[in-house]
């Protein structure tokens, strides 16, 4: 499998707290990776480092064979990275369609046009409508995104993250706060995109059912370090992992 993303000895400290402490990871193309670990393990910080929201103190990030350490976030997106957020992050006052249209326009280099009409951006609109249809919000394009239900907003956020057509999409707790039904549809969506598209997913997740049914590969972080990684079956049997993290849930 191709190496899509590789981090080497990645480190980030906030004052005394070392959030990410020498993480070396490889994400091959096409393998759905789940990143798990107790609160404060450094999962979100890792995503922030990879996408450029934070600058690492040390270490390198290689994406598609090129070091991207110093690349600003928006450039990393154009190279094929994307992400969603742990806390809902959509455009509440824009229409549902516009939420997805913007990243599509950005990828096509059309988002800075001052005098073109939005209505005339037919190719981008068609693409955005296609994405809405895939995430099951096809009929709601003209509604303000802020009035959607929590579950639909989560779906929309997934749509926004996928709109740039990323090769690697990092999802930070995509099913947080969802009802079981909503959760199932979000996960089904991720699975489908993972199979159909050329997008590789890495998801941060707390729900162990989700992790073990969805992921091809599991990375366990603890206190900023990689505690273990491997296929789900192997991780389930790993004694160290059970001790620090899974113990109670598996024994219960």
């Amino acid at each position: 499998m191709d190496e899509l993303l590789k981090t080497m000895n990645l480190r980030k400290a906030f004052g005394e707290l070392v959030a990410v402490d020498g993480v070396t990871l490889t994400l091959p193309a096409g393998r759905l990776t789940a990143i798990i670990g107790p609160n404060g393990a450094g999962k979100t910080t890792l995503i922030n480092l990879v996408t450029g929201a934070l600058a690492p103190d040390a270490g390198t990030i290689v994406f598609k064979g090129e070091e991207i350490n110093r690349l600003p976030t928006h450039r990393r997106i154009h190279r094929g990275l994307s992400r969603s957020f742990q806390i809902m992050n959509i455009y509440p006052r824009l229409s549902v369609l516009q939420n997805v249209l913007l990243p599509v326009l950005a990828r096509r280099g059309r988002n800075g046009q001052p005098f073109a009409r939005l209505e005339s951006e037919t190719e981008a609109r068609a693409e955005a409508e296609g994405i809405l249809a895939q995430i099951g919000l096809g009929g709601q394009g003209s509604l303000p995104a802020g009035i959607l239900s929590h579950g639909d907003q989560r779906l929309l956020e997934l749509g926004i993250a996928l709109a740039p057509g990323p090769e690697l999409c990092l999802l930070d707790e995509p099913s947080a706060g969802l009802t079981p039904v909503e959760r199932a549809s979000v996960l089904e969506l991720i699975r489908r995109f993972s199979v159909e598209r050329r997008t590789t997913f890495a998801i941060v997740e707390h729900d162990m059912d989700v992790v073990f049914t969805l992921a091809d590969w599991i990375v366990v972080l603890n206190r900023g370090r990689v505690l273990a990684e491997g296929p789900p079956a192997e991780i389930r049997e790993n004694r160290e992992v059970r001790e620090v993290y899974l113990g109670e849930e598996l024994e219960a």
């Binding site: 976030t73 326009l105 988002n111 001052p114 005098f115 951006e121």
Partner: protein, 325 residues
């Protein structure tokens, strides 16, 4: 967010524009003078609202760019009496000032941005006040001609009368309004609104947010510069108060009055602001107190601004009556 205006609104708009063109034929000099003031404040406030309502940045320094436009235009007209040159020069000077100060300001948002713009605006005010050789200090610049529109060897048109100058202001303001209307409905307009709604999400959509904030800041500066450049030929003088922070508050108040989330809000607000001010000053020299009180009542009473209430409440009601329901 309505994509298309209802037909009644279009009819009303056309009627308004026709009325504006006929105004000098129907009214005396004073109403025409007031109309010029309203148009100038409309342009000023529209630019401000691109920053505030559309991009989510509250600037308290727009009077600085207004003054750069006004002084720039005045200096050119005193040297070369050609209105086109004066206006273009004023707008360009304001644009350049906006690029430079914007570059430094858009690194911050919220209150930090507001304070930075306030500080930069006051810097321009003190330059207008202290640089006596260039700006005339507290006397300002006087004797600015209402120069003709001229393209040497091709074309020349005197606009020396108030009525003719009104048409210059009217045409340029309508063009500015039209350009802004197109802009907020363009991909660029969508990008700015996205930045307002979520800065991080927009950065992660592959958009360099800071660069686009600078674009919005520059456009707002150009609009402030145009508004400023239109004033000296009307008043024949330019003085430092144009650059004062209290003048920066005018587009803020006008926009709040009219509504920040309606395209026409700043224009409706500019009309209300100038009219209310004009009526109150007849009765009291403490007009600011009364103006403040009225603004507070209107802002509290008309949620989302007067223009928004008209568009979302009154107009639909009229439409229902119009269609016989």
């Amino acid at each position: 967010m309505a994509d298309r205006l209802p037909r009644l609104a279009v009819v009303l708009l056309v009627a308004l524009v026709v009325l504006l063109f006929l105004l000098p034929l129907m009214a005396g000099r004073y109403p025409v003078y007031l109309a010029i003031q309203i148009l100038i404040l409309s342009v000023f406030a529209l630019g401000f609202n691109l920053l505030f309502g559309y991009t989510g940045l509250l600037s308290f320094g727009q009077a600085g760019f207004f003054a750069v436009g006004a002084y720039g235009c005045a200096k050119i007209l005193l040297a070369v009496p050609n209105l086109l040159l004066g206006l273009a020069g004023g707008v360009a000077a304001a644009g350049i000032a906006a690029v430079i100060l914007g570059f430094l300001s858009v690194r911050h948002t919220r209150i930090y941005f507001a304070m930075l713009t306030l500080a930069f605006g006051m810097m321009i005010y003190s330059i207008a006040w202290k640089w006596r050789d260039f700006t005339g200090g507290d006397d300002g610049l006087v004797g600015i001609p209402r120069a003709p529109i001229e393209i040497p060897g091709l074309f020349g048109l005197s606009v020396a009368t108030m009525e003719r100058y009104y048409y210059v202001v009217l045409v340029l303001s309508l063009l500015a309004v039209w350009a802004m209307y197109r802009l907020v409905r363009s991909p660029l307009g969508l990008t700015l609104q996205a930045i307002r709604d979520s800065e991080t999400r927009t950065e992660f959509a592959g958009i360099p947010v800071r660069a686009y904030r600078l674009v919005a800041f520059t456009i707002a500066g150009l609009y402030a510069g145009l508004a400023g450049a239109l004033l000296p030929p009307l008043e024949n003088t330019v003085t430092p108060p144009y650059a004062h922070w209290s003048h920066s508050a005018e587009p803020v108040l006008a926009t709040l009055l009219g509504g920040i989330h309606t395209f026409g809000g700043p224009i409706v607000g500019a009309f209300l602001f100038i009219m209310i001010k004009d009526i109150i000053v007849r009765f009291t020299q403490y007009w600011l107190i009364w103006l403040g009180a009225i603004v507070v009542v209107l802002v509290l009473g008309f949620r989302g601004g007067v223009a928004s209430v008209i568009m979302n409440r009154l107009l639909p009601r009229l439409l229902r009556i119009g269609s016989g329901r």
